[in-house]
């Protein structure tokens, strides 16, 4: 029966960062209309929560899909060190061109974590606040295999 079941490991991480929603393709007025107070000139910040879901075989010797020591170190290096207490617009190259909405942040974090060698990345869920959350599970064409 076990082989008919799928197990996923879910782990939540926290970081704080600032951003400003502003598109170079829009006029000042349009930016203000589209993004509202998220367009305020000096930016603002959030306490983000990143929920990482990994799947794979549960190792019989350890009972684990992935050792949390490995996963935590990977997420720390790939995501938290580069995003925590940073300005997403200024400090993260991906957001020089793209608007750092949490939709785009989900995709960016997925790209940074899909190469985790010990399990398959299933999806990323990011909470921008307690009331807003976003999910990205990759595109089929991307082949997010380990």
């Amino acid at each position: 029966m076990s082989s008919a079941l799928k197990i996923e490991l879910g782990r939540r991480y926290h970081f704080a960062a600032s951003h400003r929603l502003h598109s170079a393709h829009l006029s000042e007025e349009e930016n203000c209309r589209v993004f509202g107070k998220c367009n305020n000139p000096h930016g603002h910040g959030h306490n983000y929560v990143v929920e990482v879901s990994m799947s794979g075989d549960v190792d019989a010797a350890t009972g684990m899909i992935a050792n949390l020591i490995d996963l935590d170190a990977f997420v720390e290096r790939q995501v938290l060190e580069e995003l925590d207490h940073k300005s997403l617009n200024e400090d993260v190259p991906a957001f020089r061109e793209k608007v750092p909405t949490t939709e785009n942040l989900c995709i960016e974090i997925f790209q940074r974590l899909k190469s985790f060698p010990k399990a398959k990345l299933e999806r990323i869920r990011v909470e921008e606040t307690g009331n807003n959350s976003f999910e990205y599970a990759g595109d089929d064409l991307e082949g997010n295999q380990p």
Partner: protein
């Protein structure tokens, strides 16, 4: 199809230790989860049932019945217990979130007579959980 989820909480102790590994290996792999006298957690279990609402009662499954199943199968077995020593279904397994979630699935699945079990999600802490569901479903309502 409609999904319904019931949440329960239980507290239990455990220790990660594989007798086939050396003391050093156990320490390296499991870290402080290998501390000799174990430790405990407040676990949160979310059980999701899928099905069509009954035309007469409007229910997928009577929540009272689900509550009784969870009490009998999970609470009486695991609440205020040591998972390594007191839960027969976990014997010989490391009581990780992954393994406990699978054991809970296997305990509940045959007991659900109306609707069917869709997902078991077990939180060991607010930042660590495991999901168990039938292969081929994504755990979010699609098959």
């Amino acid at each position: 199809m409609v999904l319904l989820t019931r949440k329960i909480e239980f507290s239990a102790s455990h220790r990660y230790d594989n007798p086939k590994l050396s003391a050093e290996e156990n320490r390296r792999i499991f870290g402080k989860c290998n501390n000799p006298h174990g430790h405990g957690h407040n676990y949160t279990l979310q059980v999701t049932i899928e099905g069509e609402p009954d035309p007469v009662t409007g229910m997928v499954l009577d929540l009272k019945e689900l509550k009784e199943i969870l009490e009998r199968e999970v609470m009486q077995r695991m609440d205020h217990r040591h998972l390594n020593y007191e839960v027969a279904e976990l014997a010989g397994q490391i009581p990780t979130c992954e393994n406990i979630a699978r054991v809970i699935w296997q305990l509940l699945e045959p007991k659900i007579k109306q609707g069917r079990l869709h997902r078991v999600r077990l939180y060991e802490s607010p930042d660590l959980f495991a999901d168990c569901y039938r292969n081929g479903t994504n755990g979010a309502g699609k098959s």
